[in-house]
């Protein structure tokens, strides 16, 4: 070993330097941490707070320019105008529905991936779950528009199965329906669930993977039937994963502006409002205020989840 080093090129960094750092582990840790912390602090948090601060800036009604004078007018406008509140409620309702549906669909898949599949099958499942994320987001959204269209493949399949009556009934349902799936909240919901499903499956699978098999065996051994084991052991222990996944699905739905503008009913969503206010309308303070809403909602959600004991297993 020593001979091999002596024969080869001098090691880099020099051994003396490595030893010097070895004796000062704290200094080494800080030297490694400071550059990424600076990057994270300025580029992520700094710009985020700069944006949020904008929501308290005033806007000159006449020239439509931003004046760095602190005011709560934008916030009052957001919270009192029914149209704005509608947008917040509509987006939140969609985010909740998408999250619940994604969790229900994701759980059995994640459970199979984590607890039953092994070796090649497990690898196949992981690739299969992530594969859709490797293609362009826009391609997928427009593909769904074709799938959901009135003469699209979904309607055709349902008609072939004699289920077109069910689709018509769903589209006639007030609130979720519309002239076709492409222009209804139901269609938008389907696309959202499709898009964010991998973000729910993977954290749940990771959480379930960490649950020792012996806990499931112990539950059965103590007399619990499979359904009791699921509600009392598996689900509580998977909760941190479900919470992590739902943060993804919830915040992605709250912030997205492309899906609501390509698929779905004409009602506005938070993401679209942010896009429009900071772009065409030039009302940066209102756009900033709208961007704070998802952060607040996620905060409330996490507090509720914590109180419900979702993180007890951590």
């Amino acid at each position: 070993m020593a001979a091999a080093i002596a024969a080869g090129a001098a090691p880099f960094p020099p051994r003396a330097l490595a030893t010097w750092f070895h004796r000062r582990p704290l200094l080494a840790a800080w030297l490694l941490l400071v550059p990424p912390l600076l990057w994270f602090g300025t580029v992520y948090l700094g710009s985020l707070f700069a944006l949020l601060a904008q929501s308290f800036y005033a806007i000159d009604e006449f020239t439509a320019t931003i004046v760095p004078r602190l005011t709560l007018a934008t916030w009052a406008q957001l919270l009192t105008q029914p149209a704005h509140l509608d947008i917040v409620l509509r987006t939140t309702a969609m985010a909740i529905a998408v999250t619940i549906a994604a969790a229900i669909i994701a759980f059995p898949i994640a459970n199979h991936m984590a607890c039953h599949a092994s070796g090649r099958m497990k690898a196949f499942f992981h690739v299969a779950v992530m594969l859709p994320m490797w293609t362009s987001y826009l391609v997928k959204v427009y593909a769904w528009r074709l799938i959901l269209a009135k003469e699209g493949i979904l309607a055709w399949c349902l008609a072939a199965l004699g289920l077109d009556g069910v689709l018509d009934a769903l589209l006639r349902t007030p609130g979720i329906g519309g002239p076709s799936l492409t222009s209804s909240y139901l269609g938008m919901f389907i696309v959202f669930v499709y898009m964010w499903l991998p973000f729910m499956i993977l954290p749940i699978a990771a959480a379930l993977e960490r649950v020792p098999r012996s806990l499931i065996a112990a539950s059965a051994d103590l007399g619990a039937r499979p359904a009791q084991t699921f509600w009392r052991v598996t689900l509580p222990l998977a909760m941190p994963g479900i919470a992590a996944g739902s943060i993804f699905t919830f915040s992605l739905t709250l912030g997205d502006y492309i899906i609501p503008s390509v698929v779905g009913a004409p009602g506005y969503f938070i993401g679209m409002m942010v896009y429009q206010q900071q772009g065409t309308a030039g009302n940066i303070p209102l756009a900033a205020a709208f961007s704070v809403v998802p952060i607040v909602l996620i905060g409330i959600y996490l507090a509720l989840a914590r109180r419900a004991g979702a993180f007890d297993a951590l």
Partner: protein, 329 residues
């Protein structure tokens, strides 16, 4: 009296590996029964077949005379103490202990009363509110025991329950488990790879090797009359001479090569390979001139530790009466 547990020709294979191969035995009511063997010998699979975690490929399992071969674990009146304790991390000690009662919808007040009794029994009376993560290894062990015993099972299955504890705690728990078993009169089925543990605790011991039982006997009989070379070596580390006889190390004397052999003894000459000091005794490993490696265990007194270093020539001798004839493997 019906046997507490009976296995009839149980076989369980995982792919090409036969974990349990045509095993039959019966365990009596109230017996402390150990399954002893190296890892991969089939003892844990046997336990899992009894608990219902594994289905036998063929053969049958009887619990108090009833065929339970196809019954799921939650339908069997047996409880298990797991090697890793398997305590539910999201529940308090109290909720862990009452789990078996709660899933059977026992009223809360009775759950509480029986849990208090159980926690007192395992000396954890004031620990009910803690989480498993806040307990030491020995305490977790006791919670696992209380959680299983609260269901008043016909049979308690213990899967290497003391494996993760340090030596002193192990010895304490061995004694405690034995006393508990006598007091409650429940049948214990105990899986271990530690022959000392099996000998000191059990009424009977089944020695497992490659999916089969090599010998099933009371500890004294197992030690005094091992039937196979494997059983002789695994229990008490006996020497196997010429593949046919077992001789215990403590029955082998070390003498000077020049000393004559008394009548009725067997004598072998050889060279000391290594010696190990073990406190009360010293072990001597001797390579005999016919190539066998023999271990002699002598009390470490001045007369035996007379400066014999590795490389020294010695004579080993033992009485004919100390040679135990083995069955062919």
């Amino acid at each position: 009296m019906t046997a507490a547990i009976e296995l009839r020709s149980v076989r369980r294979a995982f792919g090409a590996t036969v974990a349990v191969d045509d095993v039959s035995f019966a365990i009596e009511q109230g017996e402390f029964f150990s399954m002893l063997g190296p890892s991969g010998s089939g003892k844990t699979t046997c336990l899992r077949v009894i608990a219902g975690f594994e289905q036998p490929d063929s053969g049958a399992v009887f619990l108090e005379g009833l065929d339970v071969s196809g019954t799921p674990p939650y339908g069997r009146d047996v409880n298990t103490v797991f090697q890793d304790y398997a305590l539910f991390p999201h529940m308090s000690v109290l909720d862990n202990v009452t789990y078996g009662l709660r899933v059977r919808r026992v009223p809360a007040a009775e759950c509480r009363r029986r849990a208090d009794e159980m926690l007192a029994l395992v000396k954890l009376a004031d620990m009910g509110a803690r989480r498993p993560a806040q307990l030491s290894g020995g305490q977790k062990q006791r919670v696992a025991l209380a959680r299983a015993l609260i269901n008043q099972p016909k049979v308690l299955l213990l899967d290497e329950p003391l494996g993760a504890l340090d030596l002193k705690l192990r010895e304490e728990m061995q004694l405690e488990l034995r006393l508990l078993q006598r007091r409650l009169g429940i049948t214990f089925v105990y899986v271990t790879h530690d022959q000392g543990e099996a000998l000191s605790m059990s009424d009977r011991v089944a020695v497992f090797n490659r999916g089969r039982i090599e010998q099933l006997d009371a500890p004294e009989a197992l030690y005094a009359r091992p039937r196979t070379a494997f059983a002789a070596r695994f229990v008490g580390g006996a020497n196997v001479i010429e593949g046919r006889y077992a001789v215990r190390g403590e029955n082998i004397e070390i003498a000077d090569p020049a000393a004559p052999a008394p009548a009725g003894t067997v004598r072998r000459e050889g060279t000391i390979v290594d010696t190990q000091y073990q406190g009360a005794v010293r072990r001597w490993q001797v390579r005999t001139d016919d190539g066998e490696l023999i271990t002699a265990t002598r009390p470490d007194r001045a007369d035996t530790s007379q400066a014999r270093e590795p490389g020294a020539r010695v004579a080993l001798r033992w009485a004919h009466t100390h040679m135990i004839e083995l069955a062919a493997d």
